[in-house]
Symmetry: C2
Amino acid sequence: MSDTPIRLLKGTLDVLILRTLGWGPAHGYAISRWIRQSSGDDLQIEEGALYPALRRLEEKGWVASRWETSESGRDARVYVLTEVGRRAMRSEVAAWQRYVAVFARVLDARPRGSIA
Amino acid sequence: MSDTPIRLLKGTLDVLILRTLGWGPAHGYAISRWIRQSSGDDLQIEEGALYPALRRLEEKGWVASRWETSESGRDARVYVLTEVGRRAMRSEVAAWQRYVAVFARVLDARPRGSIA
DNA sequence: GCGCATACATAAGACAGTTATGTATGACGC
DNA sequence: GCGTCATACATAACTGTCTTATGTATGCGC
């Protein structure tokens, strides 16, 4: 879709991960792939952002992880949303939508007269 | 509108300032007040974020500033959008809207089958 | 065997917020 | 005149989350 990859705004990655894990357990690489694909290749999640983010979410108790070996014999750390995490996902998505709405208010507002 | 003030996402303040200055020259305090009011009191711009941001924008050549004394006798540094700044405003607003759209794609995407 | 996609991890650095603090003046009530 | 509030600017210290760079290792196809 895009020419230059979009840079993530700081603080916006967690909600993407939570939403992704809301569809079911996944390992890091699969989360990254899903975000990239579902964004139409506009968002590329760097590993340096992804893995620390997953750690943070685990420390908060929003996700849990376990090592698993796939049928093909590859090891991967699989993440699952906890119950708390599922609630957090809903509230984080709502918070994002509020943020977008507030921004729209400011960007669409028209002053009567001068600002200053 | 809200109980707890919304925390600004890093990297999102500049476009608010640019959009505000797009309505005409204003000093820092007035910019802050306009953003707060037009957001319905949801966004409170901290001085510690505002003034460094205005410096950055000036260094980029997107705004210019001059000291002025109002009729009431108060000094204030008044900022104006440059021509480059006006183009930047449009492109930054568009970039924000693209970001919102990309996010919506990910948040609304539904997998067929499992992610992993 | 080689290259590529897969899979994880972490260190160093940048950047832009928050928090706290400081200065100073005008307006208003008492 | 004095206290208090809104106005107006500024900066230092801190924090968190991203980018960039680097490293390890394995499965699969050719």
